[in-house]
Symmetry: C2
Subunit: 474 residues, 2 copies
């Protein structure tokens, strides 16, 4: 863990351990009971091994768990058993139909001018190449825009190489700039006549892992095979291209779609003492890509919401409304679980007081933001103050919610974001290297403390925040 | 690059750029011409891109170059052309017969209690498993000694798992403690009845790369398949074993030996002006494992000795004796080039005034040591002083020489070691991740400056060091 984060955590832990509850910020003192309860939750969270133990077990006993795979079904059973063991109520599996896809064997190499095998992996959902593979000349683009700008037949019979370098950033903003290449690139390339697409992995760092992730073929265009090169391999391809001679590339992918399969959203609750029908939803997704162990994406998120709910379940008195943990099925390959949840609970969405999702690694949390009604912003301020001792800054009403919350956001459910430090997240994201050893137990525990704070506060507010106006920015 | 190394380099560079030659250490002033020449070499080396350019070309145009492979043959041609382009004399390929081995497909997974695929790779020279693979229970050992201690049939039908954690160290000393597991482990395991061996990679860091390296089967024992697990994968296997239930593992390796092939030592020289028959040998090895690009191991070494020789070749006056660059064939899989060199030049070994090898990454150099006759140690002191402005400390007469120098050391050729900082070397060594991006151009240039200093000094000494007594410690 980088030294800066070390310091942040140490400061936060020290502050919590020495401050009696009465010294917490003034605006929260309107409810000293709430403040004391949350201070206690934070202290217990920072000393609690539940999350790291859950994550160790998930990665050791299950590992990669692509939606609809045998490991995904095992993960569903594992999660339901774990929620029950944590003494959550109403533990259940809500069935979700999921698309299935398998990666199969894959191979890529430069054929000319200087033959060399390169590390790559298919984008999620990519079609296969012909069984014998394909060989074609590579044409390089530095952005999706520059690919879009060429004439419609410019790439006839060629391979488009999208060679954009993702920027490292604490808030992960480099990903937003890179992801469209992965999702839209293959169809844009196909619209120009390309027979395959390669991209520099949407990744920071420089290790020899190819980073996968879902692509989406547009209707009415040829579906061409698409793969991501590891960063050092994109460097090699770039260097051969820079020398000026035509570069021929061989690509063979065996990936294919299977029939739809069955998975489940796994749910557990802390039943509210006064308003049990009102829901504070703590989301994460249980599925992972097939490459790594899904430790950061999103085993950590599962562990965080599970451990936070457990701490609240053990309070002498439950909060006013119900806290619902939802471990969504198949976030990675089409948000199946998110859509199924919104469909199944359609009539209850108006009673969802708040939703949050943990899907950005293992912490520490450095940023808090809401997506609340403008008239409710004052009501979020005490929550921000309760999070501040954990080293978390408030970013106002700029929240967006995780991908699994899109259907809830679309109907105006208030959202809160606890954003983890993403400086190194994309070194590992969607690659083989997303494994348990990348998780710092203290950062994970701080994330649990933040999540417990948010969950308890939202579940204990006398009235829930108003519905959020659904505008064009949704 | 870690900040500490940054500082070391900055200090060294600053010292060189501001100090006129006359301010170099007093003991060297006995020959102000020598001191001035070496100061000039160092300054030019630190500003020279030759080494990094050579390394970029080698990794982009050739890449992995396992002995006897088509890429190895290309590398030989490339190196001979590069030495000629650097204007070295007597550029030649001295043929070397090399053993050949191919890795083939490989697969490993835990079958029970919790199935999960793991990342592994065959040790160099491993035999294959049966085509259908093998499945057996895993028995864990923390050291070669604890494996040696069990009864002779203790592992009948089982897989031995050598789970030693390699220590990170600047001098690479953790490798010496780990390498015997890789070289001797399979035969020790076989002597106990094991049908396969797995080991935690001889690696520092925690990325999902399996680190290969040569194993040696002992005569008279069954040859069992052997593979290294990536560090995070060894963690997973360890965790499942720690839970107490028997762990079954599936292993499939297709690796196999091929008929011997042909490679070459590639040689180039700066002809000495007074004693051309006396040789200062600058060695490195041209071959690499088949996994990475061989950037650190040992493309960097090749680039360092080539660039250092070029700088000396461009001096107005060549040094007294001949500097000979030797890029050895097949260091990794049996030291074929080293043996062939000693055989071919047997009659000239007595005229080898000094030998050094660069085979420990891309720098910076932090340590200088000799293996000279005890009566000559005073004669090494001025050289140590000339290296000091580069941030290099003297470690006296503790030198060993690289692996390719073993045959020379055995006949008493004086050795000098310039040891690179190895703190991070074993994060990459023998893995897919040994690629060009891991090299810091400034550290590489500092290594060239050190190599040029050593080479010129040794070639310019009025008389060569005495032969080194060949004792039991050889």
């Amino acid at each position: 863990m980088p030294r800066r984060l070390d310091r942040t955590l140490a400061v936060a832990a020290a502050a919590l351990l020495v401050l009696p509850a009465g010294t917490l910020p003034a605006r929260s003192e309107s409810d000293p009971g709430l403040v004391a309860t949350i201070a206690g939750l934070q202290q217990r969270a920072l000393a609690d091994d539940t999350a790291i133990d859950l994550l160790r077990r998930l990665t050791v006993e299950i590992g990669p768990r692509f939606a609809g795979s045998p490991a995904d079904r095992k993960a569903v059973e594992w999660a339901a058993a774990a929620l029950a063991a944590l003494e959550l109520a109403n533990v259940r599996r809500e069935p979700v139909v999921v698309p299935r896809w398998v990666r199969g064997a894959e191979e890529g190499r430069i054929v000319a001018p200087h033959p060399q095998p390169l590390v790559l992996t298919a984008l999620g959902g990519s079609v296969a190449t012909p069984p014998e593979g394909l060989t074609a000349e590579v044409v390089e683009f530095d952005s999706l825009e520059s690919l879009e700008a060429v004439a419609d037949v410019a790439l006839a019979g060629k391979i488009a190489f999208l060679n954009h370098r993702m920027e490292r950033a604490r808030d992960g903003s480099g990903y937003s700039a890179t992801r469209p290449i992965r999702s839209r690139g293959p169809s844009v390339a196909a619209s120009k006549g390309a027979i395959a697409m390669l991209m520099r992995s949407a990744a920071t760092g420089s290790h020899r892992f190819a980073h996968t992730g879902a692509t989406r073929y547009a209707e009415g265009l040829p579906r061409i095979p698409a793969a991501a090169l590891a960063v050092p391999d994109a460097d090699i391809l770039e260097a051969q291209l820079a020398a000026g001679a035509p570069v021929e590339f061989y690509l063979a992918l065996e990936s294919r779609r299977l029939e739809d399969g069955l998975s489940a959203n796994v749910v557990g609750e802390v039943i509210g003492r006064e308003r049990p029908a009102e829901i504070v939803l703590l989301g994460a997704h249980l599925d992972s890509w097939d490459t790594g162990s899904g430790a950061l994406d999103d085993g950590a998120g599962c562990a965080i919401v599970m451990a936070a709910a457990r701490l609240i379940a053990r309070l002498p008195k439950p909060p006013r409304r119900t806290i619902r943990v939802v471990l969504f099925a198949n976030e990675e390959f089409g948000l199946s679980g998110a859509r199924a949840y919104a469909e199944r609970h359609r009539d209850a969405l108006a009673r969802h007081a708040l939703a949050t999702e943990s899907d950005f690694g293992a912490g520490p949390i450095w940023r808090f933001a809401t997506r609340w009604h403008p008239l409710d912003l004052d009501r979020a301020a005490p929550l921000a103050e309760l999070l501040a001792p954990l080293g978390i800054d408030s970013f106002g009403n700029t929240g967006r919610g995780g991908a699994d919350l899109i259907p809830l956001r679309q109907v105006g459910v208030p959202i809160a974001d606890l954003t983890a430090d993403g400086t190194y997240y994309f070194d590992y994201h969607h690659s083989e290297d997303d494994t348990f050893d990348k998780v710092d137990p203290r950062a994970l525990a701080q994330s649990v403390a933040a999540m417990a704070t948010l969950a308890y506060y939202a579940a204990e507010m006398p009235d829930p925040p108003r519905r959020v106006p659904v505008g064009e920015t949704q």
